[in-house]
Symmetry: C2
Subunit: 717 residues, 2 copies
């Protein structure tokens, strides 16, 4: 009996390490894991998926900052309702509320232009440029290494973007080991073709967000247009539909539990291959510290709001964002603890290093790995300071404005190409916009308290973490701090919009010698902030130089284990594969992987966000599902759940079946999986998709668009 | 496809009517449904369960207002922690907090006496007395029928209670068709033997209440004592353990999904066999109207509380009780709608009446059924008035006190035996206690607003529902009402406790001619209330006379369908049987029928009510479950779920396996089942039990009581 128990405990501890279906693969890696793909149920040839610039993967595009896919040869694009929300909002007004009512273009002439800054990117090139990027970095260290990589990347991008209508970027895989030049065609004329009403496209809203079971029709159909010459163009009446290099075909049949599925998209960022020390730092310090600091700010705002209704309104949005952050970080922390992430990663790293000791490469790699680890450990010496400085620059309005104005003045002294990103000429419009918004979100008493709370924490840091400029500016005691803040906020005119915009246009010298107390304070702090920035870049340069050794060891170790390694997500196209999978979320609580229209009626209260539109409720009551029902359950599917590996940026990713046909549209993940950016725990990591049968049924029976179904190759029944 | 859909819709509509495992059976009925019992998995002889005064059913007792069972031959009684909570509280003080810490008697000498009013009832007689009860009622109608039944019942009880230490009552089965004289031995010396800490016995408290999955050790062990002569006695040191007529044996093995289980207990009240019109009234009027009225009172109290902190405290308990009532009634309403209860009951009744038309009994039964239905329909003519008068007499303090004092004066004019129950000599102590409590729960402004809110609704009723005495007392306009309340509450001294207790002792004539404005008002209202009471009794008398015809038709119709009929619950011993059953609560949401200690850790926040004690958390971490693990899941069970038919009063009911061994202790039901007092919907009706393996493990490994396990016949491992 005792043995049996031990076995269970071991099984639970090891479960998170099992790599079943984990992975955000570069398409070029897929032939190498073809065996796994076929074992999982894939029926195609993995070699056909190896090139993201060829069909079918070049049908998968970046759109509105997330993912979408071409679904017809005349430029129809399918993405999420929440991804295209800005397009729907842009076309709505008091007379025509497309958010509330949805939109069905009667024919092609009725397709509505998107907001002019809405973009779609078709990846047309993806070339390894490691040698070019690192050519001048070799032999350098720290800031020199960083600058060499930065300069080489900028040069490659500038060269690539000589072609009209094209956007380029350099992406690194495995943290500095490989570099790729990504070339993308930038389409600028997108149009709204079909959107369900908010109460379908966003059914459940914040209440259901992250909460399986979901019942949302979170999809929208757009169409990409190009100029008469076939090139990217701004919106014009005479533009014609874009002919994509490839498009996906909607499946005629649906999925069920256990079915193979795969997904392609542009996941933003993950930390799966960070070192054990970084895992420990995240769980043991970073998340708890960030939550504690944000809670303190929350308390300040709530206390001030209770006494002052006007302040309450001005800080409502910031308060909401703090609450969301606290919830999200707490969820990530809970998840990482539940998955025992620190211990699992530590065991794995220890085993890797032990194995490496017996390899010939150890002599080269181990010193670099040790150096990288020492650098990472050094980072924790200033982590409290860095967290507080980050919050001061993100959670204040006037203080942030003053710091930004001074930094801009500083950067303006350089050629535009050498300016810090975010402070180049093309960024100045954005900065002006931010300076204008201050007015609606600022109250001097609240800001003083926020800054005071953060700087009181700062004053308690050990001396090594305190830049002398800050000590000089704010003093060493709470009383000195309070007096300084009272004096500075009493003698600044930055609370006035005209003043802020005036300083935006002022000459650098004028700013540095400003008679505004807050600007003057910011000028005194700036040397410290620039120095910290320099130190950060030097550290990043060294990590870029050293971390590849860690990755090389990990890749070799995994190869030894018979496993491949995917690079951490970095907004480039990735493919994941897996299965339609239920979720055992908690003791005695299980969730089935398909939801049905029954659940819409169960949840419906008639009140936002559970206020399904009458046409939908009527259609459900009528039950006219012919041709769309799930044959196994006899129910009309709405959403489904898979174990596909996703993260932010995967919104709108197409989900394909074993034959490569489109069966779903990714739009959410489950709450238990918010920690997946660090660790993929197969027990809890799930992705949530719109079932294409639900979309087709809506388009056929509820808000009919037969011409569109025809073009999509799945005619109305 | 269309046919398939119809089939599904039909199946869903009929599902609630399926009677699988439904039923709160009288033990005497069990041999008649022996086939069903065996088909479900029962391995014993149903005839052995037919007599509730013989073993094993006479081991099942009434205790603390709910159910318990003897579990040793020396008087050990097992019931819920929440049923024995008063006993635990009575033995707790600042130095020794048994609520927080639990209690393990080191040996028999350490067993602690219960509060003196705590009682245990062993049923020793259960005899049909229909003929005696109805002998003088035959030929009478209305109030005459009611009084004849009442007098005959009182005479039987008085005769029965001549025996010392015995409590008797008359219970009617099938609403007046059958009457039984119940004789119970009343044990008055109960002692506390074993109670877990609150954070085990009530883990999850109100958050988890009604919410499967649960993780509560809701059990307590008591022991019954009798005098040295073996007769019931008040607590005395020299008393000795009671030797029960029978006791249950704890099973050595546990249960798993699909296993047969049965339960015996004292369910309080159900309405399953009420007429379709009463179902419709409950769903379409009574529940919504009660919720609306209670919400109005909630608003009054919350508004007053926001302006007056003292009033907020005084009405906190009433507010909580209103909120609970609103939640409970809303849940019942949702459940009845979800089960389509009105239509299902209506279809069934229509089919029954149609079938009856073809029977010879129709000539006798149908006129009585029609008369009963007409009476029920009549009741709706005054339902608004009755609801409001009920709320005035339950949701006020001074007004209620005045009415009660006047009614008591009125009743005191009669011989004690003829007084209204609740106003007899033995009730006067209770009334005095209630009059004393007024002080802590009363604020004149709030009470005036509550009475005002209710009487404003009253003023809007049609004339036929308004007794002239009320119109005369309160006027016909809101202005007259407000003036009356201001005047009366300014000129009453009932807010003073000494005054209330003075009037309690005053002579009837003094009260009727009181100089206290509120007492005088109550005296003016009293004739109306007495008249309404008379009308109610007349109606109840006629229903008692006529409803048996409806029941007779139903029983015959069910027999024709091959089904037996159990009487609605009435606090007499009943048996239900069924299976350990999962719950599919909502679309894509399934609950397994067994929870495990894993869930305790998952839920634990360290904060009440999820603050499992350290010894429990340590034991879970240690995982020393040898001999108690569920062999199928390899987990340590805590609670389990069944489809057993239960209602309020079933708390503490023993749950037995197919061999009649004790496997669980009933303590809760699921939220989806709050409507089960009206309709048993097999899709949603579940009962929640403590797994005996969890209790034994706690007694063995966490808070050890080896001598107790020995006595229970399940020695420590």
């Amino acid at each position: 009996m005792r043995l049996r128990k031990m076995g269970l405990v071991m099984a639970m501890m090891l479960a998170p390490a099992a790599q079943a279906d984990e992975g955000m693969w570069m398409p070029s890696q897929l032939p190498g894991i073809g065996g796994q793909l076929h074992a999982a149920g894939f029926q195609g040839n993995p070699a056909d998926l190896a090139d993201l610039t060829r069909a079918p993967l070049n049908a998968v595009v970046k759109v509105g900052g997330a993912t979408g896919a071409f679904v017809s040869d005349q430029g129809l694009v399918l993405t999420n309702h929440h991804v295209a929300f800005g397009v729907i909002q842009y076309n709505s007004n008091a007379q025509r509320d497309l958010i509330q009512d949805g939109y069905v273009a009667a024919d092609r002439s009725q397709e509505l232009p998107a907001n002019p800054d809405f973009r779609l990117l078709v990846t047309t090139g993806f070339d390894k440029v490691t040698e070019q990027v690192l050519a001048r970095a070799k032999g350098k260290t720290g800031r020199g290494y960083y600058d060499a990589v930065d300069a080489a990347s900028k040069a490659l991008v500038a060269e690539c973007e000589r072609e009209a209508g094209v956007r380029c970027s350099v992406a690194t895989m495995f943290y500095g080991r490989d570099f790729y030049l990504v070339k993308q065609l930038e389409l600028r004329d997108l149009r709204l073709v079909y959107a369900p009403p908010r109460a379908i496209g966003n059914y459940g809203d914040e209440v259901d967000n992250f909460m399986w079971p979901r019942h949302s029709g979170d999809f929208t159909v757009l169409r990409a247009y190009v100029g008469p010459d076939g090139k990217p163009a701004d919106y014009a009446k005479d533009n014609r539909p874009y002919t994509p290099p490839a498009h996906l075909q909607i499946a005629r049949e649906g999925v069920n539990e256990g079915d193979y599925v795969m997904l392609a998209g542009y996941p933003g960022i993950t930390y799966r291959h960070r070192s054990a020390a970084e895992f420990a730092d995240q769980v043991q310090w970073r998340l708890p510290a960030a939550v504690a600091a944000m809670k303190q700010l929350q308390d300040v705002i709530e206390e001030a709001g209770a006494a002052d209704a006007q302040a309450k309104i001005r800080y409502a949005s910031q308060l909401q964002s703090l609450k969301n952050g606290i919830k999200r970080f707490s969820g990530e922390l809970d998840g990482l603890k539940r998955s025992n992430a620190v211990a699992v990663r530590q065991q794995d790293e220890t085993a890797m290093l032990a194995w490496l000791g017996g390899q010939r490469t150890a002599k080269t790699l181990r010193p670099q790995i040790d150096a990288a680890m020492a650098l990472i450990a050094d980072g924790s010496a200033t982590r409290e300071r860095d967290l507080l400085l980050g919050l001061i620059q993100s959670q204040t309005q006037l203080m942030r404005s003053a710091l930004r104005l001074q930094r801009l003045a500083h950067e303006r002294g350089k050629p535009d190409a050498e300016r810090e990103s975010g402070y180049q000429q093309r960024d100045e419009e954005l900065i002006a916009g931010q300076l204008r918004q201050v007015q609606r979100r600022y109250d001097p008493t609240v800001e003083k308290r926020l800054v005071g709370a953060l700087l009181t924490r700062y004053q308690q840091l050990p001396e090594a973490q305190r830049p002398p400029e800050f000590d000089a500016a704010f003093g060493r005691t709470p009383a000195e701090l309070a007096a300084t803040l009272d004096r500075v906020y009493a003698a600044t005119k930055l609370g006035d919009e005209a003043q802020r915009l005036h300083w935006l246009k002022a000459a650098p010298a004028e700013l540095v010698n400003s008679d505004d107390a807050l600007l003057l304070l910011a000028a005194k702090l700036q040397p410290a902030l620039l120095r910290i920035d320099d130190e950060r870049k030097a550290r990043e340069g060294d990590l870029l130089r050293l971390r590849p050794a860690y990755m090389q060891a990990l890749i070799a170790y995994r190869e030894h284990q018979g496993r491949a390694v995917y690079p951490d997500a970095n907004s480039t196209l990735r493919v994941s594969y897996g299965k339609v999978t239920p979720l055992k979320a908690r003791d005695a609580v299980s969730y089935a992987p398909l939801t049905s229209t029954t659940g819409i009626v169960e949840k419906n209260t008639g009140v936002v966000p559970f206020d399904a539109p009458k046409p939908l409720l009527d259609a459900i009551a009528k039950g006219d599902y012919a041709g769309y029902l799930d044959p196994k359950s006899g129910a009309m599917p709405v959403n489904f759940l898979s174990n596909l590996d996703t993260t932010g940026g995967n919104s709108g990713s197409p989900v394909l079946n074993a034959k490569g046909e489109l069966v779903g549209l990714n739009f959410d993940s489950n709450w238990e999986a918010v920690s997946a950016s660090w660790m993929f725990d197969p027990r809890y990591k799930r992705a949530i998709h719109v079932d294409m049968r639900y979309m087709r049924w809506l388009m056929d029976k509820v808000y009919p668009a037969p011409w569109l179904l025809q073009e999509l190759g799945v005619p109305a029944k």
